[in-house]
Symmetry: C2
């Protein structure tokens, strides 16, 4: 694991300051250990306590705090009201947890004056994500999975140096170094679907294919990422070349001239720019339906928004 | 089923002549019935007897022959030596069967003076194909799955008008019309991997995702197809724009200028044009390795071929 970690980190100066997300589980504990072995000493250990497992959650937080002290690293931890937030916003615990976690990470970045954070996602996490996205009918962007380096809108760059490392290698490393970690008892329930993919579907698929399918899914992700990046560049070019998106209007004849993959990506950007909530392929298809028939002149979208076709132009506004 | 079949056939004149591949199973029997219901009467029923199940195979052939007679349709059938061919070429029975079947279909096309053949592949077949390809690490082209209309190099166009129809709808149709069909007892063994995907993996995934994942995988196939088609067009453009491929050489600086998705597709075409056997992503990556390091000057490929980098040019030749 350490060799792979080192090569993934070649662009990151060990003397700089970085945030590290540490839940206390095997993956993040191994990442933290590996980073210190490689000479990264200006790390801020960030721990988000989701408070979903009572005493167990509190013990995780204590465990991470002690570890940070032992490593002589700064600690930043927070108690989040995930359950209440999920209820208030009619979200799953998983979605609410993620939203609050990323909000907290942004705060950490401001607080500690660094825009870079290490995360412990590994190759098996990636395989789960890619398979889940495939089963949800996602296009290329979903198949591309998690990226090794990804900058959020807030400016925070997430770095996943273990993304090509299988979980088994991390476990070997953790055991070899006699590391201690916490086991999250809710791992088997909080995100039911993802857990069943990990615990039931992937082992069956490995057995059927007579090999570990995770590297194959990771390869699919890598190829999808390359293809998607190129199509994204072409979309930007189309936008700059005259398909008016930025000013809030889209010219129907301009859009119609584009190939389907560019049309989809342009509309997706346009809807996102207008903050249509949870926009996906379904909403994009709905809007593209306006190009297919002269009969349809308006379609409704989530969030009380409506797209209208008028004088060969698409506009978006509140219903 | 019939409505969907009709709409998928809108471009095909019922008075023209078409081949129909009929194994005798539920799917092809339903397709044949549906076609005659929709007024297609100049059909040639093509049956390839793989002779892998002794008496049962012979009975299938008789069953299809009787059906063709009852429908007053021409019959073309052949007995293929699949097992011997597989052995002679060290292939799986599945691969050998497919190779011989397509060779036979080409002969049928010549014999009966039509370049169009209907096949009974449906949405669940498509889901199996897409999932299998994803698990094999295939890129976009594999994820695109089977196409509703696809012209082979021989000129024969395969048309799959049931590709969007779930198997359950076909079964409903077959039962409603009291159709009789043959059940292939080796379906559960001949292509072990594909059968386990159908009988074990897909039911588990449906259960985990709490929905039928086949339409989701079909959507993934559709999106991948659109994206792949655009990238294929761009590859052709790059080829026409100067990346010399046709004359057997590739200019390294020209190739290096292309984005990764175009590089991959150019090399794949080049290797296929030079008839590198069973060429895939692995071989493409091997060749692209020549661009990454000055140390490597030649790589070996299957079929005793070798690619060399010399004077900033890639050439391919026998070792």
């Amino acid at each position: 694991m350490l060799d792979r970690l080192k090569s993934a980190l070649s662009a990151y100066d060990p003397d700089d300051t970085y945030l590290v997300a540490v839940s206390g589980g095997m993956d993040s504990i191994s990442l933290l250990h590996g980073l210190t072995q490689l000479g990264y000493h200006h790390l801020v250990v960030c721990h988000a306590n989701h408070q979903l497992r009572g005493q167990e959650s509190a013990e995780d937080a204590d465990f991470v705090a002690e570890l940070a002290e032992r490593y002589h690293l700064s600690l930043d931890s927070v108690e989040m009201e995930v359950a209440a937030y999920a209820k208030a916003h009619s979200m799953s615990l998983e979605t609410a947890g993620r939203a609050l976690r990323y909000e907290y990470f942004d705060l950490c970045a401001d607080e500690h004056g660094t825009q870079r954070m290490f995360l412990a996602h590994h190759a098996d996490d990636q395989a789960e994500t890619v398979l889940l996205n495939a089963l949800r009918g996602a296009g290329l962007t979903g198949l591309a999975g998690m990226r090794m380096r990804h900058t959020l809108e807030s400016g925070l760059t997430l770095i996943r140096p273990l993304l090509d490392v299988p979980r088994s290698e991390i476990e070997t490393y953790a055991r070899a170094h006699k590391l201690k970690w916490r086991t999250d008892s809710s791992n088997a329930s909080r995100d039911f679907t993802r857990n069943r993919i990990r615990l039931e579907a992937l082992p069956l698929l490995n057995d059927i294919m007579r090999r570990d399918v995770a590297p194959q899914l990771a390869q699919l992700a890598r190829l999808s990422r390359e293809d998607d990046d190129l199509l994204t560049q072409l979309t930007t070019k189309a936008e700059e070349g005259g398909v008016a998106v930025a000013n809030g209007l889209i010219s129907v004849p301009d859009l119609a001239k584009q190939p389907a993959p560019i049309q989809r990506r342009l509309i997706l950007r346009w809807l996102r720019a207008h903050e249509v909530p949870e926009v996906g392929l379904k909403e994009v298809s709905t809007v593209l339906g306006l190009l297919k028939t002269a009969k349809l002149a308006r379609v409704n979208l989530p969030g009380g928004l409506q797209v209208r076709r008028k004088a060969r132009t698409l506009t978006i506004a509140k219903q």
